[in-house]
C-alpha cells in the first residue's frame, strides 16, 4: 500500500484533497497543516508521494522541498507541488518536484496524476 502525505495550511484544502484521493482508491493518507513538520515526518515514514502546497506561512513549499532534499539525499523528490499561482510551475519543477497541479484542479485529473506518479515510483 502506497503512503501519501498531504501538506496544506488551509484545512478546507486538506479535507478536499484527502476526500478526492480516498475516493480515487488511496487509503494510506496522512495530512498536516504545519509545513515545519514535513521533513521530520518524511524521515520517519518515507512517503511514496507528498502533495505539497507551495504558499504557506512559516515555511513555504520551496523551503520544505529543500529540507526534503536533505532527507532524500538527492534533488528528485517524491513531490506533487500544488499552487494557485500557475507561474510557480517552472520554479517547482526546478526545485525537484516530480509534477505540478494548478489550484483549482480537476479532481479526476488529480487522481490520474497521483496514480501515474505512484506507478512510476513502483516501476523505478
Amino acid at each position: 500500500m502506497e503512503t501519501i502525505l498531504i501538506v496544506d495550511d488551509q484545512p478546507s484544502n486538506l479535507r478536499l484533497l484527502e476526500c478526492t484521493l480516498r475516493r480515487g482508491g488511496f487509503s494510506a493518507i496522512t495530512t498536516t497543516s504545519d509545513p515545519r513538520t514535513v521533513s521530520a515526518l518524511h524521515r520517519e515514514h518515507h512517503y511514496d508521494l507528498i502533495l505539497l502546497d507551495l504558499v504557506m506561512p512559516y515555511m513555504d513549499g520551496f523551503e520544505v522541498m529543500a529540507a526534503l532534499a536533505e532527507v532524500e539525499g538527492c534533488d528528485e523528490l517524491p513531490v506533487l507541488a500544488m499552487s494557485a499561482d500557475p507561474r510557480q510551475k517552472t520554479l517547482a519543477m526546478k526545485a525537484g518536484a516530480r509534477d505540478f497541479m494548478d489550484k483549482p484542479f480537476n479532481v479526476t485529473e488529480l487522481v490520474a496524476r497521483v496514480s501515474i506518479l505512484l506507478d512510476e515510483k513502483r516501476v523505478a
Partner: protein, 661 residues
C-alpha cells in the same frame, strides 16, 4: 674666369630679382632686367641719373636714417647713406622697405645691400639685390585678420568658458563665457592658478594637477564633475582640457573648455526619478494582480473541488441537486478563466512576458489548433474548413503564443456564429510581401462600425454579455501578443453577413526546427475543461514511453497509463477502460497485432480505437497493420502534430462508438 663671368651674367639677368649696382656715391651704374620689370624704369632712364634712395619711400628713408643714427651713434643723412651706411661698415644688411615704381605705385621689398671693393679694399660701389615682398605681406595680413577673428569669436562666446592656461596651469586668457559661468572678471583671475575652479576637496586630493598631467600625456582630458564659482556655489560641469604644443613638440599651455551642465543634470535626475517611480508603480500593479489572482484562486479551489466531489458522490445527488452543482461548476470554471486572462494581460502589460521567437510552420500550428478546436465546433454544429498547405509557410513567431492567438480567433468565430454556420480559415502569403496572413471568416451577425471601434478594449464584450460566456480580454491579449511578435490583428465585418478576423506575421525562409524541446512548449491547455480521457500506451522502450508521457502531459484533457508488454496491456485495457490505446508492434511476448486481436475479441475492449506505433515504415507493413484493424498506423519517429491529430481523431471516433453502444 669665363665661368664666373657666366654666373654673374645669369644672376644679373635674373628676371625675379632686381639687381642694382651703384658707384661709391650711390649713383646707379647697373640696372638689370629684374629691376626694370619690378620698377618700370628702363636702365637708360636711371643709370648715371639717380640713386636707389630716389625710388624708395622718402618717409621710410628719413625714419631709417634717424634709427641708424641712434643705433650707431653717428650722423646719417636721410638719402642713400641711410640705405648703404651699414654695408659701408662691412655689416651685412637686409631690410624691408617700400619701392616706388615709375608710375608712382608702391610695393614692399626686401633688399640686401653689399659693398663692392677694389683690390686695395676701397669701396667702389654698392650692390642692392631686392625681391618683391607683396605676396608674403598679404599672407601675414590674412593671418593677422584670422587670428583677430578667432580671438574676437572666443571672447564673445558666452555658452562655453574658454580659458587658456600656461603650462603651469595659470590663466592667460578669459572669455565672456568664462566670466558668465564662473563669475570672475578677466582682471580678477588672470595669472591665477586654475585650481580655483575646483571644490576644496578635489584640490586637496590633487585633482587639478592630475587633470593637467593627463591632458599633457594624452593630449586631451575630458571629465564631468562639480566645479565652483567665484561666489563659492557649485555647478555640474563638462570640462575638456587640450594640451597645446608648438612645432617642436614643446608644451605651450592648455586650452580649457567648460560647459555648465547643471540644468541638464537636473533634468536627467528628474527623468530617472520619474522613470523609477513609474517602474515601481507598474511593478506594484503587476504584483497586486498576481497576488489578487492567487487570493481569488485559493477559495475557488475549495468551491470547485467540493462541487466536483458532490457531483460524483455516493449516494448520487438528486437531479435538482445535480443541476445546481453543474451551475456552480460552470460559474466556477468561468471565474477561473477570467482570473487567468487578467493575469495573462497583467503579465503582458508589465513587459515581463518572455517570448521565444523562432521559425514556425503554419501548417503544423494549424493542425494542432484544428485538433483542439474541432470538438468545440462539433458541439455547436459549426462546420469548419482549414487550408491545405501545398507549399510550406513559415513565420517568425513564438509557437505557443501564436497558437493561443489562433485558438482565440477560432473560438470567437465558433461562439459568435449563426446556428449551423461555417468558419473558413485561410492562409496566404501574397497580400503583403514578406508577410503571411491567416484569416478566420465566420457567418455570425457581423459588427457595426461602432462595435468595431470598441473591439480591442479590455472587458468590452460589445453587448454579448449574457448570451455567451467570455471575458472580453481574449482579443486584447491577442492584439498585444501579435504586437510583441511584430505582427498585427485586423478585422473586416459586414452586419448580417459575418466577420473576417486576420493576423499578419513576418514570413521567414529559415526552416522550422522540430526540436524535442518543442514538445515542452507545444499545446497550451484548452480553456474549457473537458472530462479527462485516458490513453493506454503499450511499449517496452523507455525512451518512447518518456516522450509520449511528455506529449500527454501537455494535454489537460488526457492522462496516460502504460504497460510494457502485450499481456499486461490487454489486462490494463480491460480494467481501466481507456478511451484510446497506443500499441507498439514489436513487443516482447505477444506482438502488438496479436494483442489487437485479443482486444477486438473481447466485448469489454472491442470498441476502443487502437493506434499502431511502429518503426516499421514499409508500406506493406502499414497496409498489414490497417487490415488487422488498427485505427491508424503511425511510424516512428513520432511527429508531434500528426500524433496529436491522430489522438484527437481517435477520441472523436471513440465518442461515436460509445453513442452506438
Amino acid at each position: 674666369m669665363l665661368k664666373t663671368g657666366a654666373l654673374q651674367t645669369a644672376i644679373l639677368n635674373s628676371a625675379n630679382f632686381s639687381s642694382i649696382a651703384t658707384d661709391e656715391k650711390g649713383v646707379i651704374q647697373l640696372f638689370n632686367v629684374g629691376a626694370e620689370r619690378m620698377l618700370g624704369y628702363a636702365a637708360a632712364e636711371v643709370v648715371d641719373q639717380i640713386t636707389p634712395a630716389d625710388i624708395s619711400d622718402p618717409q621710410e628713408i628719413i625714419a631709417r636714417a634717424a634709427f641708424l643714427s641712434r643705433e650707431l651713434s653717428a650722423t646719417i643723412k636721410p638719402g642713400f647713406d641711410a640705405l648703404a651706411f651699414k654695408a659701408s661698415r662691412g655689416i651685412e644688411d637686409i631690410y624691408e622697405l617700400t619701392y616706388i615704381r615709375k608710375d608712382g605705385s608702391r610695393f614692399p621689398a626686401i633688399v640686401s645691400v653689399t659693398a663692392l671693393r677694389d683690390d686695395q679694399n676701397a669701396i667702389i660701389g654698392y650692390l642692392l639685390i631686392g625681391t618683391d615682398n607683396s605676396a608674403r605681406k598679404h599672407v601675414e595680413e590674412r593671418l593677422r585678420f584670422t587670428e583677430e577673428s578667432f580671438r574676437l569669436m572666443v571672447e564673445s562666446v558666452s555658452d562655453y568658458a574658454i580659458v587658456m592656461l600656461s603650462p603651469e596651469g595659470n590663466v592667460v586668457s578669459w572669455n565672456t563665457g568664462a566670466q558668465r559661468i564662473k563669475g570672475f572678471l578677466a582682471d580678477e583671475i588672470m595669472g591665477q592658478h586654475f585650481s580655483r575652479f575646483y571644490p576644496p576637496a578635489d584640490v586637496a586630493a590633487g585633482k587639478p594637477q592630475r587633470d593637467l598631467d593627463v591632458a599633457a600625456a594624452l593630449g586631451r582630458f575630458e571629465n564631468e564633475g562639480w566645479r565652483t564659482r567665484k561666489d563659492g556655489s557649485t555647478f555640474w560641469a563638462n570640462v575638456v582640457i587640450t594640451a597645446i604644443r608648438d612645432q617642436a613638440g614643446e608644451l605651450r599651455g592648455f586650452a580649457k573648455l567648460t560647459r555648465d551642465l547643471t540644468a541638464r543634470q537636473q533634468i536627467e535626475t528628474e527623468m530617472s526619478d520619474a522613470k523609477a517611480a513609474a517602474e515601481k508603480a507598474n511593478l506594484a500593479k503587476s504584483d497586486f494582480l498576481s497576488n489578487m489572482s492567487h487570493e481569488l484562486r485559493s477559495p475557488l479551489n475549495a468551491i470547485l473541488g467540493f462541487a466536483q466531489l458532490m457531483e460524483s458522490d455516493s449516494p448520487p445527488p438528486t437531479d435538482s441537486q445535480k443541476e445546481s452543482i453543474v451551475q456552480i461548476l460552470n460559474a466556477g470554471w468561468y471565474l477561473l478563466d477570467l482570473i487567468n486572462e487578467i493575469l495573462d494581460l497583467a503579465v503582458i502589460e508589465s513587459g515581463k512576458l518572455s517570448m521565444s521567437q523562432e521559425p514556425v510552420s503554419v501548417a503544423e500550428v494549424m493542425l494542432e489548433c484544428q485538433a483542439m478546436i474541432e470538438p468545440q465546433a462539433q458541439r455547436r454544429g459549426i462546420h469548419m474548413t482549414f487550408p491545405r498547405f501545398d507549399v510550406p509557410q513559415t513565420v517568425h513567431a513564438d509557437r505557443t503564443r501564436l497558437k493561443q492567438v489562433i485558438l482565440n480567433l477560432l473560438s470567437n468565430a465558433i461562439k459568435y456564429n449563426a446556428v449551423g454556420g461555417t468558419v473558413v480559415v485561410a492562409c496566404c502569403g501574397d497580400q503583403t510581401p514578406g508577410r503571411i496572413r491567416i484569416s478566420v471568416t465566420d457567418t455570425g451577425a457581423g459588427l457595426s462600425a461602432g462595435q468595431l471601434a470598441q473591439l480591442f478594449q479590455p472587458f468590452n464584450r460589445l453587448g454579448q454579455e449574457g448570451s455567451e460566456q467570455g471575458t472580453g480580454i481574449g482579443l486584447v491579449v491577442s492584439k498585444r501578443l501579435m504586437e510583441l511578435m511584430d505582427g498585427v490583428v485586423g478585422v473586416e465585418s459586414t452586419v448580417g453577413t459575418g466577420s473576417v478576423f486576420w493576423i499578419e506575421l513576418n514570413s521567414t525562409t529559415e526552416l522550422p526546427a522540430t526540436k524535442f524541446e518543442d514538445v515542452e512548449s507545444a499545446a497550451p491547455l484548452p480553456a474549457t475543461p473537458v472530462a479527462l480521457r485516458t490513453l493506454l500506451y503499450v511499449e517496452d522502450n523507455p525512451a518512447n514511453l518518456r516522450l509520449v508521457e511528455r506529449l500527454i502531459a501537455r494535454r489537460t484533457d488526457m492522462c496516460l497509463l502504460t504497460a510494457i508488454d502485450g499481456a499486461s496491456g490487454v489486462e490494463l485495457a480491460r480494467s481501466a477502460q481507456p478511451e484510446v490505446i497506443l500499441m507498439d508492434i514489436n513487443l516482447p511476448g505477444i506482438s502488438g497485432i496479436d494483442a489487437l486481436k485479443i482486444l477486438r475479441g473481447d466485448p469489454a475492449t472491442a470498441h476502443i480505437p487502437v493506434v499502431a506505433l511502429s518503426a516499421n515504415a514499409i508500406p506493406r507493413d502499414v497496409q498489414k497493420g490497417l487490415e488487422a484493424g488498427f485505427f491508424r498506423y503511425l511510424t516512428k519517429p513520432i511527429k508531434v502534430a500528426e500524433f496529436m491529430d491522430t489522438l484527437s481523431a481517435a477520441l472523436d471516433f471513440g465518442d461515436k462508438q460509445v453513442l452506438v453502444h
